[in-house]
């Protein structure tokens, strides 16, 4: 369901692709080979981007500069307004009930970095950037499901009625977009956004339209769910697509990477769903249970342990993890706001340890098990060594003599 919502919003349909689909639906072609990739937006949706040729208007340089200036100031004003507005909203860190669903963030994957734990183990982290997230609209369950392709059961599920909250990320030049697309941002009083994502939220955790979202919406140590579009690998063989073993290097010819047998002797056919070479990737995938190990508040960057779907530069939806053990027990509801900001207490450090002044460092939150690069090299003691479990098997077993 989210898939259809997202695809309707994220990117505009390209003209040639839309043409092909319409042609296929016109009735002359009975068969469409391959799967329809549902991430490609459906052709009947209105376009989002509007291309106005540069030379269609005869603007002087002065007018152009003025126009740029106005756009820049409008963006700034909208951001400032939303920020002031968020000062007045009611937010609190409370226990989150099991049935409650908070809003998520629309983030961009900017790379992968290794980090080390205090035990000296390396963990590979994904770096996610939260770029100017604002709530664009909040739609009641009744109104959103009637206007969408999904049924009533999604809006009124067993957890209760679900509101649809649209979140926008990344400010962009409004002149690139159509009026209909820009209007939704004007209504919410936020700058024009490049990317949109939708979340299903319960009424008790409902943000209001125009509310800015911060990286601190999530806490360090919390587990999250990342949803996004996987890398489009194109047509791939069985070894890459399904992890099949292939065939021997030697003593075989022209079948080193082939999949081998595809069926049995009995009924001479291939069973549906047989794993075979084909198109790999460009699918909407979710990975859950990723731990947040570090958050950079200044740069609005989240470090997540493990990997997320998609290539670097792709946009993802980040939500609270719903697994029972990894669920968020208490946190800011509906979202984090500057009123929740607390002055961090100075942690007790041994006097000989050199403390780097705070103004030289980023304002960051670390997981307690993560190594900080400002601290000296790790030195182990006997307490860290792995304890032998059970008896020493290299020595003979000797019965204890009771005295």
């Amino acid at each position: 369901m989210l898939r259809s919502l997202i695809s309707s919003a994220t990117t505009g349909p390209t003209q040639e692709w839309a043409g092909r689909i319409l042609l296929a639906n016109s009735g002359y072609i009975s068969q469409q080979r391959g799967r329809r990739r549902t991430l490609t937006p459906v052709p009947w949706l209105p376009p989002i981007k509007e291309h106005i040729p540069k030379n269609s208007f005869d603007l002087s340089q002065k007018t152009k500069n003025l126009l740029d200036d106005v756009i820049k100031k409008e963006t700034l004003a909208a951001s400032a307004l939303a920020r002031n507005d968020s000062q007045e909203t009611n937010v609190a860190i409370i226990d989150i009930p099991h049935s409650s669903r908070r809003v998520g963030l629309v983030v961009r994957k900017i790379g992968m970095l290794p980090q080390w734990t205090n035990d000296g183990n390396r963990i590979l982290c994904t770096v996610l950037e939260v770029d100017e997230n604002h709530v664009v609209s909040v739609t009641s369950p009744d109104s959103w499901y009637k206007a969408s392709a999904v049924g009533k059961r999604k809006a009124f599920n067993r957890h209760g009625p679900m509101w649809r909250v649209t979140v926008g990320a990344g400010n962009d030049d409004p002149t690139k977009y159509t009026l209909a697309y820009r209007r939704q941002f004007a209504r919410a009083g936020v700058p024009t956004k490049e990317k949109l994502g939708c979340f299903l939220v319960t009424e008790d955790a409902l943000p209001h339209a125009g509310q800015p979202l911060d990286a601190r919406h999530f806490a360090v140590g919390q587990h999250v769910t990342a949803t996004g579009k996987t890398i489009d690998w194109g047509f791939q063989g069985g070894m890459h697509r399904w992890g099949m073993r292939g065939q021997p290097t030697r003593r075989t010819t022209k079948s080193h990477r082939r999949i081998g047998s595809v069926g049995s002797v009995g009924d001479a056919r291939i069973w549906p769903g047989k794993r075979m070479p084909g198109h790999m990737g460009y699918e909407w995938r979710t990975v859950s249970g990723l731990e947040i190990v570090r958050i950079n508040n200044d740069k609005q960057v989240i470090y997540v342990k493990g990997s997320v779907p998609g290539d670097i530069g792709e946009t993802l939806l980040l939500k609270d993890c719903l697994q029972d053990e990894k669920r968020l027990k208490s946190g800011p509801v509906p979202t984090w706001a500057p009123t929740l900001e607390t002055i961090q207490e100075e942690s007790e450090l041994s006097p000989e340890e050199i403390v780097v002044p705070k103004n030289l460092l980023f304002n960051e939150t670390f997981s307690s098990k993560l190594f900080r690069f400002t601290s000296p090299s790790i030195v182990f003691t006997d307490a860290d060594a792995k304890r032998a479990t059970g008896r020493d098997k290299t020595k003979a077993k000797i019965a204890k003599v009771k005295k």
């Binding site: 970095l113 290794p114 770096v127 960057v301 530069g313 182990f380 860290d384 792995k386």
Partner: protein, 288 residues
Amino acid sequence: MFRPAAREVVKLPTRYFSCKSEPTRAVTATKKASREEIAGLIPAFPEIYPDFLQSPVWNRRNALKEELERQDMLERRMNIDIPEFYVGSIVAVTSSDKNLGSKEHRFVGICIRREKEGLLHQFTLRNTIENIGVEVLYDLYNPTIKKIETLKLEKRLDSDLSYLVDALPEYSTFDFHMEPQAHPAGTPIPVNECKVKLKNPPWTRRWEISSYRGIDDTWTQATPWYKRKLHKTLVNDYEKYDLIANYRTSSTKEQEVFVQTQMQKFEKERHAAGLTRRRILKSAASYK
């Protein structure tokens, strides 16, 4: 008469292009190097600091990610002295290991590889211990590393000495109790023009068709079967026709200058705060 402001007069052209075939740059090479040195920049920066370069994969270059990564790397370099070393230098690494009795381990060997950028940067040391070749791969920014020492600062003919695995063991045998040899500051890094003798084939890789300069005559040693079957064509022979190969895979001069100024800024801040006297950006060859 219009006279430009004094600020404009002393402004240096800061825009360099890394295209090697650019004739104007080749002519003024010596002049430009000195100008860089005045600004405290190191001409051989990409060789000394391969970890501060951009990723050769263009998709992975992201200014924000690089900034965060660089911050971590510099913080680490404030806590541990990472000396200058090259592929071919003899390096000793002392690292903590919780499962050893002494809780630390020192390994000495020749650096045969330096790969990857940023926090991912790795180097491999090779030595022969009890007639068995041992290669240890270290993450440069692993916090369990306590000390890195360069015992002998020199370069070899190649920037990758992977062929030592198939060379005779004497080429990769180094004494663990080797005395460090001081490099006189300000002199160029010596290049050890030693050519190694390989063992008899079969080898792990086809060295006879690779373009390594540090291998002594591979073709005569290649088995007759290979000689019959294959032409004497090098593996990446076509690469010499790729005119922009350097531009595609290496970072640009502008980026190098930018990173160096960032490193200088970081150093200056830390020195001003009285935290350390350690210098991060330094070069043995261009020491003043």
